[in-house]
Symmetry: C2
């Protein structure tokens, strides 16, 4: 079956993202919505802040009472009652009057601006001198300056960062409709793989991928469910795969995806109900032997067994699909990249996209990307790396000191 498949380019793979659908939505309290993706449009149900609000400590005035005021010729204003915080001032300010106001206080009718306390001197308890004139609306937020009633503020597919949560709070939304966190099943395969708690015999290796992939899935905002290690046994792998596909929104199988003797993954995927192979091989390095199948509505991935290749494929290929599943509206590949200066020449093979691990340093002129040397089987290279440099299919290499764009490997540097 696999022979019918042509290796796909990264661009062809990214074109498949849109063929999957986001998971269902749920309504949760704001403090469970952090960093999740909004499932509803949010519009202002009122003007915000809803009243003329002072942005400074000072005096509410009518601006034209201060016109012409200066250090040498201050304006003399009569002090009227102070404005209590959180209350509607129950008086109208007359021309020539000033009312003490704090940051966040509501301007009385008649007032249109605030003189900062630093630009005044108290004459006595009934009057102040103002040393600087203000224009109307100086140091004031207008009643609908933050948001206008019925204005759409946040769209479906927006990530709820702290400020979006604050905005929801400002509008009185203590619960938000968000996409569920996608559940991602993780299966490690390989006769050579043993659990972390076991001492590997010669020829064996501990199960690194389960932990690395679980961390990546969490960082992406999804929930990892680990199915442990399945030995290279077709029946066992089929049974665990079926279980994972039933329970999860996406499945990651690592190991067993290269064209080797023990590659059951494709055979097993083809036996799952309603499952169709979409990709068998991507023209990227590392990560060429990646497999993607669609089982019903769910993406099922066969990732390379080398942890470094698996991480690169996750970051470059799987993450855009996972972002799609969790409802993020930004198109694949729209994430921000970091411009950096390359510290040395890099050669690259044509006909595939190379993803070179780099560590990022800062010098006087900005970021420097230093390629991390070492084979893709070495986890050391990922611990040293902060990002990936893509060298396109038709590029032979990149010269030292070229400005390049780095894809961050993690949100944490």
């Amino acid at each position: 079956m696999k022979n019918f498949f042509k290796v796909k380019t990264l661009k062809e793979v990214m074109a498949l993202v849109g063929s999957f659908k986001p998971v269902l939505q749920e309504t949760v309290p704001i403090d469970e919505a952090f960093f999740r993706v909004l499932g509803e449009e949010i519009a202002a149900d009122q003007d915000l802040p809803g009243f003329k609000r002072s942005t400074m400590d000072g005096y509410a005035v009518k601006a034209d009472s201060t016109f012409g005021a200066s250090e040498s010729s201050p304006a003399w204003l009569t002090l009227t009652q102070a404005i209590p915080m959180g209350k509607v001032p129950e008086f109208t300010l007359a021309p020539g009057e000033a009312a003490r106001i704090s940051t966040g206080g509501m301007l009385p009718s008649g007032a249109d601006s605030v003189v900062m306390i630093e630009h005044t001197d108290a004459v006595d308890e009934t009057a102040i001198e103002v040393y600087k004139s203000v224009a109307p609306m100086t140091n004031v937020i207008d009643r609908n300056e933050d948001f206008k009633k019925n204005e759409t503020i946040l769209g479906v597919g927006t990530r709820v960062r702290p400020q979006e949560a604050g905005l929801a709070a400002a509008l009185g939304l203590d619960r938000l409709k968000v996409f569920k966190r996608p559940i991602v099943g993780i299966i490690s395969t390989g006769d050579e793989v043993v659990p972390v708690t076991q001492t590997p015999a010669l020829g064996e290796i501990r199960d690194i991928n389960t932990y690395t992939l679980a961390g990546l899935v969490r960082e992406a905002g999804a929930v990892p469910v680990c199915y442990g290690i399945v030995k290279d046994n077709e029946e066992a792998l089929f049974s665990v795969c079926r279980q994972a596909v039933d329970h999860c929104d996406m499945v990651l199988i690592s190991g067993g995806s290269s064209v080797g003797v023990r590659d059951f993954t494709v055979e097993i995927l083809s036996k799952l109900a309603q499952t169709r192979l979409l990709i068998h091989g991507i023209s990227i390095s590392p990560g060429k032997p990646t497999i993607l199948a669609r089982s019903g509505i769910k993406p099922v991935w066969g990732l390379p067994g080398h942890v470094v290749s698996a991480m690169v494929v996750f970051r470059v290929v799987v993450l855009p699909f996972l972002n799609r599943l969790q409802g993020l509206s930004s198109p694949p590949g729209s994430a921000i990249t970091l411009p950096a200066r390359l510290s040395r020449n890099i050669a690259s093979a044509q006909g595939r996209s190379d993803f070179v691990r780099v560590c990022l340093k800062t010098d006087g002129q900005g970021l420097v990307a230093e390629p991390v040397l070492g084979k893709s089987g070495l986890i050391r290279t990922m611990v040293l790396a902060d990002g990936l440099l893509e060298i396109g299919e038709n590029v032979e290499g990149v010269e030292r000191d070229t400005m390049v764009q780095i894809m961050p490997l993690s949100n944490y540097f």
Copy 2:
């Protein structure tokens, strides 16, 4: 009391970070250690991978059996037994022999390299032709190439990203000693502030800061504990502050830190046991009226009431202290900034550091930083912003098209 305090520069404030100590440590399973900070040094207790490991599907050979091989003059090798995954090959490879091996398999003694399957042709079941010569160690990871026994791999103060978790797994560490997550108490103050679920009367505003700060605290890797809204009442605020200082590792009080009529914060802090005011005013904008006290070993902050100012102060000033508390080893301000081209001229006052909100876009040449206009009382400006541009104390402004360094506001763009 406040009059004795001189406004401090940001540099003077950052110099105080080191005077606080990290919180205590605890040992947790790997999957609870993600994104936390390592409290122990990690060294390899064995060579990794511990054996000569193939990085390709192909044939284990003795390199000199392939010397001189080419398309026109292939080397003829005798096939010996295939190498099972996860097992020690129980034979010695002789010159002129080849043994089928999969990615991750262990090389038999006698073999020193792997020929990729693509560079061979099977002659029959007993022999292959090799079309390309290999040097010793080609397509092989040496027994200690990833890590050498007793080599220190990760230091105290390292953030546990997915790859560090994977590395720990490789070394058989299913539990890691990490710093506890600092507990950060959040108190909102102000007579004008009402709970999210309440409809504000004119002059009132909903409690935005609690949610925004809680999100920022979480994103930093700490645990927010919200104490709700305390009205401008000295006794009530004192009681809640004392409770928060007792229970938390750091306390954030927002509102009430400007030089206004209702500024109890300083008075209240001075009444707490073993509490000393360290900062009353920082020469930054927004955020000048920021307060920092040390209560025993704990930092207690008075943040501006405006949500935007509070967010900026959190990102620029509080976060380095919180990183110190959670044990991160990188010095304050060492986080990566994003180089971007400024889209328009910005003026700035001298004698203070201005933090201008910017949104980041990408054009053909890289990142563009577009200043977000609007007063610092407008939450809209933070929802539109992705980062902050610092304009130094002695700089009057920055011209359009200048390359600037942007401090990201959040891990998520």
